[in-house]
């Protein structure tokens, strides 16, 4: 009798484990970086998860990170299957973790890449780097190229090796729109921002065009890159990539893209990270030990 009960218990437990694994297997967790304020970012990507869930017959969930660098640290701990990485976090994730690039979003104007800007107020009197000495600069996050590494290399090329002594103060706003408004409000003299987000803010509020100006522009880099865990089944990875590449061709997909203010997606490759690789080389930084 005891053996029968034991057998039943083992069977129930085994079923529970199998069911749990099955359930886990059926939820795909995708991470997002806070490139805009997190509420806007979450609302923007929500339609995509619903669309993908239907297409792959598997629940797709979003998780948004409070800061850029968290996406690397939490990718494994939160058991994410993929993430829309920034170009720098994507580069670091590929170097440090088992992920591979899948797709890059395409903006409504057809571009899949954007620059970084260094901006100031028009009435600030700042025309070049020499006018920036003793001022306050707002970066986005240490784990961004356009919002941190590009400005660093730009200043280095202009003879500024130590931002701590050159600027009166520097701080990280955590998102691109917060950097723009820090400059607009006069809470920072100089701001660093992703160009497409800067342009979107100015399109929403054209009065800002009178108040802000661009001092420097970085080379073009992908807007963001969806990277997927290498350990996901090959078939699933290919399916996700193909769905995203082709969603511009089906009615429902088009509607989702419209809500996301995107034209579609294009295939990503390692070439998308070349600019970051060059910056790391020029700054002589080891990606493995880079502190973000």
């Amino acid at each position: 009798m005891k053996r029968v009960i034991k057998g039943i218990l083992v069977s129930v437990f085994s079923l529970m484990v199998i069911f749990n694994a099955y359930a886990q297997d059926h939820t795909l967790l995708i991470g997002l970086i806070p490139e805009q304020n997190i509420f806007r970012q979450f609302q923007r990507f929500l339609p995509l998860t619903e669309y993908l869930s239907k297409k792959i017959d598997r629940e797709v969930k979003l998780t948004i990170l409070s800061r850029y660098g968290d996406i690397i640290d939490r990718f494994s701990s939160r058991n994410m299957d993929g993430a829309f990485f920034g170009v720098l976090t994507g580069y670091l994730a590929i170097k440090k973790m088992d992920v591979e690039p899948s797709v890059v979003p395409i903006e409504l104007d057809g571009s899949s890449e954007t620059s970084g800007y260094i901006i100031v107020r028009r009435d600030s009197g700042i025309e070049s780097v020499k006018d920036m000495q003793g001022k306050v600069i707002a970066f986005v996050d240490r784990a961004t190229v356009r919002g941190y590494l590009f400005p660093i290399i730009y200043f280095k090329r202009h003879g500024i090796n130590d931002i701590k002594t050159f600027f009166k103060e520097f701080y990280f706003t955590g998102s691109n729109d917060a950097s723009v408004y820090a400059v607009v409000d006069g809470r920072a003299d100089i701001g660093c921002v992703k160009a497409n987000i800067y342009e979107a803010i100015l399109a929403r509020d054209p009065t800002l065009r009178k108040e802000l100006k661009i001092i420097a522009t970085s080379p073009l880099m992908p807007l963001s890159v969806l990277c997927l865990k290498k350990s996901l089944p090959e078939k699933l990875k290919t399916k996700i990539t193909e769905i995203l590449l082709n969603m511009k061709n089906d009615k429902e997909g088009k509607e989702v893209l419209k809500r996301m203010e995107l034209k579609g997606f294009r295939r990503a490759s390692m070439n998308d990270f070349k600019v970051v690789d060059d910056i790391f080389r020029e700054l002589n930084i080891d990606p493995e030990t880079y502190r973000y």
Partner: protein
């Protein structure tokens, strides 16, 4: 007796000589610096305290006798305050706010004047031969932008003090910006507290912009009482009015005090070679009052929450 008188005369002479020498030595070491606040308001006290703390470290405060005037905010009182300080042989005048600064430029051309907390001094017409100082600029458009996002404003009341150049200039900047934000401006020029009460009750508007003014800062509680009855928001650029304003954007007080200290040192050292008689502080602090937002039943602004330097809950 004659010997006694002689000895007494010598003692008296020595006492007089000592007193004379002592007083000469004292005036040679101690300089009188006159300080005029355009009104007795917290922001002037705060900047002055920070300025003195910096000055104390250099040891200068031991050689300076500060004389203070904190008149009521009106033109005559400012002039009288400056005249009193001139009569007390002030060798430098420090003026807080544009009202007292303008009065000082009328009263003296010989005594150096170091002004502070003056909005856009060039456009406010603050000029004079012996004038040094610290002005500031504030993007008033930011306040209008945040206000627009928080509530629907079609008519903006712009409260300005006619007797203060800073307030008039800021009111002009706000009025100009109203066009860009599709707002109609209702300009309320006032000279005293009585006029504030009358005009605020007389005109209708959806929100009130309080420009930088000693008179308006001093009258903030009565302004708030009237506006509160109408349940409309106030935005302001005066530090110290945060508890009454939905959104407040004011110049960074630490930067103002540091710039005042630098300018004052140049003047007291009579360092004519140092370039620039004027510094403009452009850094600002953004305060969002969620308590007021809640009371007025407004939707909390995510941008204000994430961007504000301080949130009043």
């Amino acid at each position: 007796m004659t010997e006694k008188v002689r000895k007494l005369s010598v003692v008296v002479f020595l006492v007089f000589l000592f007193n004379f020498l002592f007083s000469v030595e004292s005036t040679a070491e101690e300089r009188v610096v006159g300080v005029v606040f355009s009104a007795d308001i917290p922001v002037y006290h705060e900047v002055h305290k920070k300025f003195l703390n910096k000055l104390r470290k250099t040891g200068y405060t031991k050689k300076i006798k500060f004389l203070y005037q904190k008149p009521n905010p009106d033109s005559l009182a400012w002039s009288n305050a400056v005249r009193k300080l001139i009569a007390y042989d002030a060798t430098i005048l420090i003026t807080y706010g544009s009202g007292a600064t303008e009065a000082a430029t009328y009263e003296t051309a010989n005594i150096p004047i170091v002004y502070t907390l003056v909005y856009d001094p060039v456009k406010s017409g603050i000029k004079g031969r012996n004038l040094y100082g610290v002005g500031y600029s504030i993007p008033v458009t930011s306040l209008l932008r945040y206000l627009k996002r928080t509530t629907d404003v079609k008519k903006l009341g712009v409260l300005a003090s006619e007797i203060e150049p800073s307030s008039k200039t800021q009111a002009k900047h706000v009025s100009d910006a109203c066009k860009d934000f599709n707002m109609e401006k209702v300009l309320l020029n006032v000279k005293n507290e009585e006029e504030i009460r009358i005009k605020l009750k007389l005109f209708s508007f959806d929100a009130l912009f309080i420009t930088d003014s000693a008179l308006l800062a001093k009258s903030i509680t009565s302004i708030f009482r009237i506006i509160n009855e109408r349940s409309i928001p106030i935005v302001s650029t005066i530090q110290g009015t945060e508890d009454y304003s939905l959104i407040n954007l004011h110049p960074d007080i630490d930067e103002i005090a540091n710039a005042l200290y630098r300018t004052f040192l140049k003047v007291i050292k009579e360092d004519r070679k140092v370039k620039g008689k004027r510094e403009i502080v452009q850094r600002s602090k953004l305060i969002y009052n969620m308590k007021i937002s809640k009371r007025l039943g407004l939707q909390p602004s995510i941008q204000l929450i994430t961007g504000a330097d301080r949130i009043i809950k």
